[in-house]
Every structure is written in C-alpha cells, then in structure tokens.
Amino acid sequence: MVIGKAGGALKPAGLYRDYRQARSLADLYGAVAIAMGADDTTFARQSALPLENRIGPLEDLLA
C-alpha cells in the first residue's frame, strides 16, 4: 500500500490494483526507488535480484 505524492513522482491515486501475481514485490520497490529519485537499477544490482524477479518498476504507480 502506497500513500503520498513524493514530489509529484507518483500518479494521483485512489486506485486498487490486483496484479494477480503477474508482477513481483521487487517491481514495487523499483517504483519506490524511482519515486524517491533513486536509480531503481542500482537497487536491483545491489540486491542481485534474479532477472525473472525484476520485470521493471510498477509503472502504474509512477506519474
């Protein structure tokens, strides 16, 4: 669950998203990293996430 605007990096919300396992928790954190102005690929690289677990940040969250 995500609350906030993060300097306008997040879309206006009021939305419920059921990803039906098509995306991973790592993708959520990727979006968080981008919203915070960080490089999400850096987190992915540091955390050595397997490729199958980093489809990419949840674009639904980002403005």
Binding site: V2, I3, L10, L15, R17, L25, M36, A38, Q46, N53
Partner: protein, 390 residues
C-alpha cells in the same frame, strides 16, 4: 546584520573546503539557494505477522480500479488520504522462504532476497533492504540517514537479547540493522535530549549536522594554514550561526510528549510521535517502522482494543473462526496512526505545498507463510480455517 540560516547558507563560498565538509553542506547549500530539488522522504511501515487481504481491500471499485468505497475495510481511517493512496495487491514474492515455520519473511520482506541460510530461525540478510538503499541515496546529508524504529511485544521487551535483536532491515549481505525499540533511546538518538529536559512546548534547537561539522572542522583546522585556515574558520562561524531554531516554523518542530513506553500502546504511539517529529524536524528523510517485526516478537496483545489473544494466536486462528481473520481493529488502528502521520506532515508547509507532498508512505506486509505456493503479497492467511467476514 541578522544572520539567518538561509542567508548563512547562501553566503557560504566553498572552495577546497567543500570536499572537507562533505555532501551534507552541499545539499544544504543547494536547497538554500533554491538550486537543488526538494529531497523526498520515505516512511516504511512493516506489518509484522501478516495481513488479512480481505481487510486491506476497498469495499468497492469501479471498472477502472478507482476505489469507490473504503467502508468495512481496515483502511477506513485513511479515507481522507484516498486521493493519494494506492492499494497494491497480489504481488508475487521473489522468494518463498519465510523463516521460523513461516512466521516472518524477515529481511526478505524488504530486500526481495533470500535469507541465509534459508528457513533458519536466525538467518542473516541476503542483501540490502529497500529502506536502507533509499537512505543511501537520499539520506547522506542527514544526521540520521535511516531511522529504524521497532515495536515489540511486552514479552519481547523483556526477552530481548543480542541473539533476539529485532532485525528485519539490512545494509548489505549479512549486515543487519537493528531497530531502536526503547522509546527513550529513540528520543535520545533523534533529539539528543533526555525526556526531562524537554517540555511539550519547547522548540527543538537544530543541532544536527552542525555539531558534527564543527567538530570535524576543529580537527581539520590543525592541518591547514594561512588562507585555508581562515576560510575554514569562517565556515565554522557560519555553521554555528545555523544552530538556531529549525528552518521550519518553530511551532511545528516540537519534541513529542512521550507516553513513557510502558505499555504496548504507549510504545506504538511513542514510535509514531518520534517518527513524525524526526521527519518534521528534518533530522531524516528515511524512517522505517517495524511493528512487531520478525518471527520472534509476534506475541503482542492489543488488549487496549479489546483483544484477549495475542497477535500470534490471532494469525493462526486454529479451528476458532472467531480468532482467524479477526484482526480488523488492529489494522484499522495502524491505519489511523499512518493517517495521523500524514495529517501532521500535511500541516507543515514545504516549497509550494506541504511536507506530505514530498513524502511517500509504504505500508508493507511482513508476509508470514502462505499455505500453498506460489506465494503472494500480501499473504492471505496462516490457517486453513476460513477467515471471518470483514
């Protein structure tokens, strides 16, 4: 001439000293000159023991997934913030490795990496957690790059030992970060002020980085001479001038009146007060709160909400449908605390908006074990018994 913090920062002309003073002053200078973008802040709230997904779903949505109604869900206290709230459900977890019989994902919940060794009662983190990573990206200019506050059960507070430290955060593989679990310790770490020295109406003075920088300058002074030494002295004078009431309106940066941390409720509410005050006083941009985190501290009893069974029992439920799926008031209570934190940040002007505009709050499930793989996030339930209706 009256030297304000902003003017002092504007007036600093850094040469070789910039490298000595490090990134902190650079960030201050940029913000003071209006050249640097407002740094964003992140609050992570890790819900120990797992969620009941039915209680974290809105009551109804339209065909575009727009939330129409939060009624009956535990999110109701967040209604005011619905326009900026997203409910993210049913994400795949990269690893199914809940520790200690499936009671917690431990580090993996925020790192998406397997704990090491897998399924151990006392595993080590496999890599950094997202909050620690964000702190490394946005918090380097802060006195507290990462503020990690934990809330344990009453029993957990008594039993805590080195081996039972509450840790679900990590900075690197095998580098766990313990939560601060004693409210009085948190207060001292954040504000450097013992409880008795601060009244509720006393504005905090911004000691923050200036103390550290001035101390560093004093050490460096002996290594410099002539012009560089005088330049450094001038920096030090200007930095001392910054030790004034915080840049935000002083009425908003108050030392919280702590409840004393004796009861579970007092510890929880103290934790939120401290987290909020640390953000408003700009002592950190990254706060991580662990609510009864890890597999070792799940036995918190929310008796002040009318519960007689502890969180662990409620999660399992056993064959008692009255227990299973009956944590709604606990989640609503937590949602209310998060709503209050957002309200408080929204009351502080920042740039052309408020602090909340530059903040992201992430309420995350500590997972626990699913009954059958594949694992999902939030996790569904601990028991095979049917959850109670929301």
């Amino acid at each position: 001439m009256r030297l304000t913090r902003r003017n002092a920062l504007r007036g600093l002309q850094l040469g070789a000293g910039a490298a000595l003073l490090g990134p902190a002053l650079g960030a201050w200078l940029g913000e003071a000159r209006g050249q640097a973008p407002q740094r964003r802040r992140l609050v992570v709230f890790l819900e120990g023991g797992g969620w009941e997904t039915n209680r974290h779903k809105p009551a109804s949505t339209d065909s575009n997934s727009k939330i129409l109604e939060l009624n009956r869900s535990s999110l109701l206290p967040l209604t005011k913030h619905l326009p900026i709230l997203s409910v993210i459900d049913n994400l795949r977890r990269p690893f199914h490795n809940a520790a200690a019989g499936g009671h917690s994902e431990l580090f993996s919940a925020l790192s998406c990496l397997p704990n090491e060794p897998k399924d151990s009662d006392n595993p080590q983190p496999g890599g950094p957690t997202i909050d620690s990573f964000i702190a490394s990206q946005v918090g380097q200019a802060d006195r507290l790059p990462l503020l990690a506050l934990g809330v344990l059960s009453d029993k957990g507070m008594k039993d805590m030992t080195v081996r039972r430290l509450a840790c679900t955060l990590a900075s690197a593989p095998r580098e766990a970060i313990p939560y601060i679990v004693h409210p009085e310790t948190a207060r001292e770490v954040i504000f450097g002020l013992p409880q008795l020295e601060v009244s509720t109406n006393q504005p905090l003075r911004r000691r923050l980085l200036t103390d550290f920088l001035v101390a560093d300058i004093a050490r460096l002074r002996g290594k410099l001479a002539g012009t560089e030494q005088r330049k450094l002295d001038r920096y030090a004078d200007q930095l001392r001038a910054l030790d004034t009431p915080v840049a935000t309106p002083s009425t908003e940066c108050l030392a919280p009146q702590a409840a004393g941390g004796i009861t579970l409720r007092a510890r929880i509410e103290d934790t939120f007060r401290h987290a909020t005050a640390a953000l408003i006083c700009r002592q950190t941009h990254m706060v991580s709160i662990g609510m009864t985190p890890s597999n070792k501290f799940l036995d918190a009893t929310y008796d002040f909400l009318g519960y007689t069974k502890d969180n662990h029992a409620l999660n399992h439920g056993g064959n008692d449908p009255d227990l299973l799926g009956n944590k709604g008031q606990i989640f609503a209570y937590h949602a209310g605390l998060l709503a209050k934190l957002c309200d408080d940040l929204a009351a502080v002007p920042e740039g052309s908006g408020t602090m909340l505009d530059n903040t992201l709050v992430l309420w995350v499930n500590d997972n626990g074990a699913p009954i059958t793989p594949p694992a999902t996030h939030p996790f569904a339930r601990w028991s095979s018994a049917k959850p109670a209706a929301p």
